[in-house]
């Protein structure tokens, strides 16, 4: 690949723009939507690692998100820990669950992993709803504290209990997720994951330990999900089982597919579309799930690479003839 200074400048411009958004957009309602977009972006980046890059579909994703959220909420509310301790705890806890679920099901090929995650998602919904002393049952947990502010020195401190403060907190993690996904795709491990996605037999004969690669991918994915769950709990300050139900998992799978699975910008675009659209088109609220189902089917049949894949295909077909002429 050719190093492209123009491209780097463009990226720098976009990053600057994203940092300036809260200054440009004053309406708290839009700031809230952006925060929600970022929250889901982190979660879908996690999903991207296991489903997009490694090709193993986790369709109980929202349940794992719930694990992170509940761990984090319980750590701050019951154990009185600070957010900055609860968050790593949520990441760790979710990763442990990921290992426990991934170990039996990722050794097998085909649909077993997908079905296990779906079943586990249902079990988690039951636990969230019925384990009332701990999870609060259907009413959930409320009065979760916002992330505590960081004081660097006298007079300089960062507070996260405002929408703008939270925006920057999320932004840092979104950029981190983007960076880790990018580095992963370039690394040996990431290429092993892609090889597992494309052809397990071939990957195995090339010496890639497929089960181990899949499990590592899943644990890595779960760490993002745990992080997102924690942020989710401390942003909304309230969690209940509905947010972590199986339909929510399908929504995030749809986000990934429509954005473009296995791509770098796909998760961001998918999360943006599926968080912003329902807000903009309030009138179709009743129809939203029917529309999600239809969109997922249409994309799988006609645009399996998603929006990012479509753009890549278009730019490539535009570029190809030019290169061809040059060679003549």
């Amino acid at each position: 690949m050719i190093r492209n200074p123009g491209k780097n400048l463009l990226i720098l411009f976009f990053v600057l723009l994203v940092f300036l958004i809260p200054v440009l957009i004053k309406d708290p309602y839009y700031q809230h939507i952006l925060n929600v977009v970022f929250l889901f972006t982190i979660s879908v980046y996690g999903l991207n690692i296991i489903a997009g890059i490694t090709g193993q579909f986790n369709i109980g994703h929202a349940g794992f998100l719930g694990i992170g959220a509940y761990i984090s909420a319980l750590a701050t509310n019951s154990l009185m820990l600070s957010f900055w301790l609860a968050m790593p705890l949520a990441i760790l806890g979710t990763a442990v669950f990921g290992f426990l679920i991934g170990y039996p099901s990722l050794r097998l090929r085909g649909v077993y992993f997908a079905l296990t995650t779906l079943c586990f998602g249902e079990i988690l919904s039951l636990v969230f709803e019925n384990w009332i002393p701990v999870t609060g049952g259907p009413t959930g947990i409320s009065r979760i504290p916002a992330p505590t502010s960081i004081r660097l020195s006298e007079g300089i401190s960062f507070a996260f209990d405002t929408k703008i403060g939270f925006y920057y907190l999320c932004l840092i993690f979104v950029l981190l997720s983007l960076y880790i996904n990018r580095q992963l795709l370039k690394s040996r491990l990431g290429r092993a994951m892609l090889a597992v996605r494309e052809n397990e037999d071939l990957a195995q004969s090339a010496g890639i330990p497929i089960t181990r690669t899949k499990i590592i991918a899943f644990i890595l994915s779960m760490m993002f999900v745990g992080l997102c769950g924690s942020l989710y709990a401390h942003y909304f300050r309230f969690i209940s089982p509905v947010s972590f139900s199986v339909p929510e998992s399908f929504r995030q799978v749809t986000m990934l597919f429509v954005g473009g699975r296995g791509t770098l910008l796909g998760p961001l675009i998918g999360a943006l579309i599926f968080t912003a659209l329902p807000e903009v088109l309030r009138s179709i609220e009743d129809y939203q799930w029917v529309v999600y189902g239809a969109i997922l089917m249409v994309f799988i049949v006609f645009l399996p690479k998603g929006i990012v894949g479509l753009i890549q295909d278009i730019t490539e077909t535009l570029r190809l003839p030019r290169n061809g002429n040059r060679e003549q």
């Binding site: 099901s105 649909v111 079943c119 249902e122 079990i123 399908f250 799930w289 189902g293």
Partner: protein
């Protein structure tokens, strides 16, 4: 108490067997993990509700008509939704099926609302006692009807031309098409039969439980567990697995915890994956 739970389990098991048999056939023949199978079961419930309660047809005629109507619907979704992805990447089937599930479930919610509908049947008030067990006639009918349908499927698969063609296709699709079996027709027929059986389960259980848009979301997961338990594509395995699942759930719900009744099947599932992923009756994958 124990015997009562076994009988309850058998009745539930009959319905699970009906749902699972269709799912395992679709899985074995077309390699589609049909997550939307539960919504087909749901459609069976709504069909019988409209035919018997709204339009006043006799219950058994309504069940028979539901099987037929939903069977036709199965042919339609095979053609429109699943045919474009045959031979496509692995697991796309699961995703497109989940899209279909979300679509149909919420479509039902929009069309018919979220309130539960009850279906009246002729024998709900008649109770039969034997030993220490008492069951309503309706439940006995459910069990009998599922056994009859399963027996009919068995005869169809083993003794008719089309049935044998389905079995041949599930064993070796290439070989089957070489000897002149039209795979398109087989796929269509498989979807029709599977959908019809799932609709039968939904229609028969409708008087015992209620009819509502998400009524299929738990049964479909349990059917998946049964399919894996019995070995993918194994029709006998699905029947035995269906009854085992019904009994396990009934006993677990009575003696362990009724809140987590639905979780037992998933614990069984993870156990099977760990110990015998090819299923109780399946051949080793190696």
């Amino acid at each position: 108490m124990f015997l009562q739970q076994i009988v309850n389990g058998l009745i539930l098991g009959g319905a699970y067997a009906l749902i699972s048999v269709g799912m395992t056939m679709i899985f074995g023949i077309m390699n589609i993990a049909n997550l939307a199978h539960g919504t087909i079961y749901m459609l069976g419930g709504y069909c019988v509700y409209f035919l018997s309660t709204v339009y006043g047809q006799p219950f058994f005629l309504a069940v028979a008509l539901s099987i037929f109507i939903v069977g036709l619907f199965g042919i339609a979704i095979e053609r429109i939704v699943f045919r474009p992805i045959y031979g496509g990447p692995v697991l796309y089937d699961l995703l497109i099926a989940s899209g279909l599930m979300v679509f149909l479930e919420n479509g039902a919610l929009l069309l018919w609302g979220s309130q539960t509908k009850s279906v009246r049947a002729p024998y709900t008030d008649m109770v039969i006692h034997f030993f220490s067990v008492s069951v309503t006639m309706q439940r006995v009918i459910v069990l009998l009807a599922s056994l009859i349908l399963i027996a009919a499927l068995y005869l169809f698969l083993n003794f008719t031309r089309f049935g044998k063609a389905i079995v041949a296709t599930s064993q070796n699709p290439k070989g089957a098409s070489l000897v002149g079996i039209d795979l398109t027709k087989i796929y269509m027929l498989t979807f029709a039969i599977s959908s019809g059986l799932a609709a039968a389960a939904g229609a028969l259980l409708a008087p015992m439980f209620y009819v509502f848009p998400t009524m299929g979301s738990m049964p479909v997961l349990k059917a998946f567990v049964v399919v894996v338990l019995g070995g993918i594509g194994n029709v006998q395995g699905a029947v035995v697995g269906g009854f085992l699942m019904g009994i396990a759930e009934s006993l677990g719900g009575a003696y362990i915890s009724s809140d987590y009744k639905n979780a037992f099947s998933f614990i069984i599932f993870i156990g099977v994956l760990l110990i015998r992923p090819q299923g109780l009756f399946g051949k080793s994958q190696a």
